[in-house]
């Protein structure tokens, strides 16, 4: 489970003054469900996910991930999460198998458990054909599969996805979305950030619309459409924040 209460990230920029990247966000994500964070670029989605994954610390409020506080128990939070973004972020001079094993070892898997999990991800993601190839030599789709394997190798109960399909072709995007659905079906708590409406409509059980660091609205896709008086999620999103964003 993931829960934030009034979480905030403010920082001072020499040119812009005080920037409120995230400003008092309260939300909950539950096991076996996908929580969608919907927002335009710069809305604060990535900053929120970075706080939840302990890369940066909140300047206000609190956040609990898998029963651990992100500020007080960052190590335990990190051991409970898997994080995937559109950037595969692989080490080019490591082989695919070495790359996955490396993160398994960092996540404290025993040799036996690591072997068992490696066999699982290899079969599930069909890695055997390129497991001994350097990551630099892999195709985009293969890199994406290695990135997914790294994310789930330690079998974390909570998964964060930060615009995971950005820049991917239709086939690769489809693979990622199927993987997110599988994670939900496996009972994981999934937080999924995107600005692609079709993905939200397909995947999310609950949607939080973020703009300028604050929650504009939340609910299911249907309730959000009804609230905005729109027939599509895209129109609903534009009604909620679009005109203001375009004017800016």
């Amino acid at each position: 489970m993931v829960r934030t209460v009034d979480i905030a990230k403010h920082f001072t920029d020499p040119k812009r003054g005080v920037v409120k990247a995230v400003d008092g966000v309260t939300l909950e994500a539950h096991p076996g469900k996908i929580l969608g964070l919907l927002g335009a670029n710069g809305a604060g989605k990535t900053t929120l996910l970075r706080m939840l994954s302990t890369v940066i610390q909140p300047t206000g409020g609190s956040a609990i991930v898998n029963d651990f506080d992100v500020v007080k128990d960052p190590q335990k939070v990190r051991a409970s999460i898997g994080f995937m973004s559109n950037s595969t972020a692989l080490y080019g001079r490591l082989k695919a198998k070495e790359m996955i094993e490396y993160f398994g070892q960092l996540n404290g898997l025993s040799e036996e458990r690591l072997k068992e999990r490696w066999e699982f991800v290899r079969e599930k993601l069909d890695l055997s054909e390129f497991e001994d190839r350097l990551c630099d030599k892999l195709s985009t789709g293969q890199k994406q599969r290695v990135s997914i394997a790294r994310t789930i190798l330690h079998d974390p109960p909570v998964l964060f996805f930060d615009e995971p399909t950005a820049g991917l072709d239709v086939l690769a995007s489809q693979g990622v979305m199927e993987f997110i659905e599988d994670s939900r079906d496996a009972g994981k708590t999934v937080v999924f950030s995107t600005h692609i409406m079709s993905e939200v409509e397909r995947l999310c059980d609950h949607v939080v619309v973020i703009h300028d660091g604050r929650i504009r609205t939340e609910g299911t896709v249907e309730t959000i459409k009804a609230e905005a008086g729109a027939t599509s999620l895209e129109m609903a999103f534009l009604n909620l924040i679009g005109h203001e964003a375009v004017a800016k």
Partner: protein
């Protein structure tokens, strides 16, 4: 497995697969020093040997010309002094000599005879050839003087009553290989820095750029542990690079090449005790370099920015290292303050140990000073590693 060990092994594995590291840090220093030695060996064997001294004489084949030939000089004839002058100007002749026609006759009756010599003072080979000719002439003059004195019943002791008796005061345990000692300490220190510089920008700044650092920060590893692993990995590269240059010297010594024979007439010059001191002094120096470079790489937004900062830092390292080459020729080389100057202290201590001089209090100060600064730089690197605005900016 301990996360520090996991990250360290991964960093080393990646580095060894990086062609730049293999070229610049592992084989580069070795190859470079071997090339240096071939070059020095060539210079010593060509410039130093009389057989390589070429002298032109204006149409003459007298006793002095024969003496020059006997000394191994390459003597060639030239038609006139004018042509000889043109040859010197064009760089085709090093020294041109013109003897008086009755040179041998005048010499036999102890009459003065003039030898005109043309050379180019701005060219080193010309200066060397002139010095060799002068040496032969001085010797001939000395023989002539001694013969005259003997003929007049004057002993050499009467003619030269002042005698100087010299004694070499032994400071170190061995005389040392002066040629190697001239540049090896400098190269050992410099390569420790440049070896690390080949990879450090990728180590943190590059990881920020490629987003791999964020995936590492999300793993359940403490940030200071990540910083320590990077530091250990970088230190290993610096040390390997530095020792690679020493290995180059040993390889050249083992090859027994004729061209480098002169360089090793007094042995390699690195005794086991000196090697121990080199390691002792280089360990904190390597730590100093690695921590400074790591701090710079952590602070930089990307690999390119890191490289720019490191170029500036390299000048700060280069200056004391270059000074170490000259300071040995001055009184400052034995001064205590030198031990307090980072980088310079390491190079100077290595130089002294290669001469067999082991000033243990100086070695202790050198190690302590380098270690203290390394700890401060490492503290800065770890602090930067804990600052999210530094770590997450690209």
């Amino acid at each position: 497995m301990n996360p520090i060990k996991v990250i360290y092994l991964k960093e080393v594995r990646e580095m060894l697969r990086d062609k730049r590291v293999r070229q610049s840090a592992v084989f580069g220093p070795m190859f470079m020093i071997m090339m240096f030695m071939v070059l020095f060996g060539f210079l010593f064997s060509t410039i130093g040997e009389k057989s390589n001294v070429k002298v032109h004489v204006v149409k003459a084949d007298n006793s002095m010309v024969q003496k020059m030939r006997a000394a191994g000089m390459d003597v060639e004839q030239v038609e006139s002094l004018g042509k000889g002058r043109a040859m010197v100007r064009d760089g085709k002749a090093r020294v041109v000599l013109q003897f008086e026609k009755d040179y041998d006759k005048k010499l036999a009756v102890h009459e003065p005879t003039k030898i005109q010599a043309l050379f180019n003072p701005s060219e080193q080979v010309s200066q060397i050839a002139m010095a060799n000719v002068r040496e032969l002439l001085d010797k001939a003059n000395e023989e002539n003087r001694n013969a005259l004195l003997t003929a007049k019943g004057i002993s050499l002791d009467q003619a030269e009553p002042l005698h100087i008796s010299t004694e070499e005061v032994k400071v170190g345990q061995n005389k040392g290989n002066e040629i190697l000692i001239g540049f090896l300490p400098y190269l050992i220190v410099i390569w420790a820095f440049y070896g690390g510089m080949s990879i450090v920008s990728d180590l943190v700044a590059g990881e920020k750029e490629k987003n791999t650092l964020e995936t590492l920060l999300i793993a359940p590893v403490k940030r200071y542990q990540v910083a320590l692993c990077k530091f250990y990995a970088l230190s290993s590269v610096c040390l390997v690079s530095s020792m690679s240059s020493v290995a180059g010297v040993y390889i050249m010594a083992a090859l027994h090449l004729p061209i480098t024979k002169k360089l090793f007439e007094q042995g390699v010059g690195v005794t086991p005790q000196a090697a121990g001191v080199i390691l002792l002094v280089m360990a904190p120096t390597v730590a100093l370099f690695a921590s400074i470079m790591l701090a710079v790489s952590t602070y930089a937004r990307n690999a390119r920015e890191a490289q720019s900062y490191l170029t500036l830092v390299s000048f700060v390292v280069l200056m004391p290292a270059i000074s170490s080459q000259f300071i040995g020729f001055t009184d400052a080389g034995s001064s205590r303050w030198v031990n307090f100057v980072p980088v310079l202290n390491a190079a100077n201590t290595i130089r002294q140990s290669m001469f067999g001089k082991f000033d243990w209090s100086g070695i202790f100060i050198t190690v302590a000073v380098s270690l203290a600064i390394a700890l401060v730089a490492m503290r800065v690197a770890v602090t930067l590693f804990n600052r999210e605005q530094v770590l997450t900016r690209v």
